[in-house]
Symmetry: C2
Subunit: 235 residues, 2 copies
């Protein structure tokens, strides 16, 4: 937690926050802060700054706030990711937030097992928790726009062309030999397939929607590794 | 497991392997293979190819091998990573292998807790298991050269300048404002700090050894995310 992310309900006054639970425990046990210390803080959806510790004990962390910095700009990036296994999902969602994607779409695909959608980790509050962990890691306050697309075709045929908005659309797929475009017109939409990859019909639909294939080379990377490598390459 | 990695002791003949344990369980339960199916296989440190399933039951997986492809080339990259928390270590080591780094150095640093070195995950056989998982993920057969540097100064002052070998040396550190070099002379040596970062004295030593600072921008990324983003950017 490189930034303590404050929720509106934490504010007892505009310049005074009171925290309990996970963040209290983290600041005590990991930061090992003391009264008078300054922590990096930010208000969800708002500014960042410093919080001077007024109180820190079993019950609460109280902070005097100075919020005077803008959060880092988002990347003009929509990530469209086929729902990964629950074990991997949390890390992918947190990584997407920490890398600064403006929007994250979790999409169904042929090789996404139905059980993945039923996982408690796919619940909106659980996904939001992971996005928040990503923001706390990266020192950001602005949640990416999160969308769950349970039906592949209506999303890809109906919504995706609009999301592209005249920018660059790419779909990661091994074996095509297609390199990253030299000139990248923002916004960028980047689709990453499930374990086992996209099927041909899906690639066809994604292509019709305006996404060009992008080959990452002979190495097959885990979703969260491929995601970070692509963001590093493109931005 | 996108490639079944065969160890020399799995070979009952040059073209015939017999596997038990983890890989047997994975091929049965995840791949759900059947007799006659072909799997992507590779011999540790050697060639890759196909393995036709001759037998698959509770006891063993037997494969008829055709090993006729070279593994993908390694990146001319030495990663020097401050030992991360045990919880994170396995993912970092596997990611380094899957990304194709030729060499991985796990280095001590001021903000590396002593207990990290005592973790069972730092044992050579455990680290090797993670490297193998990374190779199986990426479809590679060649282990990166792994080095444990328990003493910062002897490694950085004595060995690091030689490892650089006239190539490009970079040390990731936030707040320096230094962008990635436009021209990258291989080999590349890339150092990534611990949670909390390098201390000034360490940065000074790394600089004297020939590593230039590299700023990843305002977002602080987890080690495995930063690692992948940097490899994606540089290669």
């Amino acid at each position: 937690m490189n930034l303590v992310l404050l929720l509106p309900e934490d504010l007892v006054a505009p310049d005074h926050a009171r925290l309990t639970g996970r963040r209290l425990a983290h600041v005590r046990e990991v930061h090992r802060a003391a009264v008078g210390d300054e922590l990096t803080v930010g208000l969800l959806g708002g500014k960042m700054g410093r919080g001077r510790v007024l109180r820190l004990d079993d019950e609460a962390l109280e902070l005097a706030l100075t919020l005077d910095q803008a959060p880092p700009p988002k990347l003009p990036l929509t990530l469209v990711i086929a729902v990964p296994r629950p074990k991997v999902l949390n890390r992918v969602v947190a990584a997407a937030a920490s890398l600064g994607a403006a929007r994250l779409v979790l999409l169904n695909a042929w090789k996404v097992e139905k059980a993945y959608w039923a996982s408690p980790r796919m619940k909106p509050e659980s996904l939001r928790d992971q996005l928040i962990l990503g923001l706390e890691q990266a020192k950001d306050t602005v949640l990416p726009d999160l969308r769950l697309a349970r039906l592949f075709r209506p999303f890809v045929e109906g919504e995706l062309p609009e999301l592209l908005a005249g920018g660059t659309g790419l779909v990661a797929h091994p074996g095509t030999g297609a390199a990253a475009p030299k000139v990248l017109v923002a916004p960028v939409t980047l689709a990453l397939g499930p374990e086992g990859g996209w099927i041909e019909a899906e690639l066809h639909s994604l292509g019709k929607a305006g996404l060009r294939p992008l080959d990452l080379g002979p190495r097959i990377l885990r979703t969260e590794t491929a995601l970070a490598a692509l963001v590093g390459r493109l931005f």
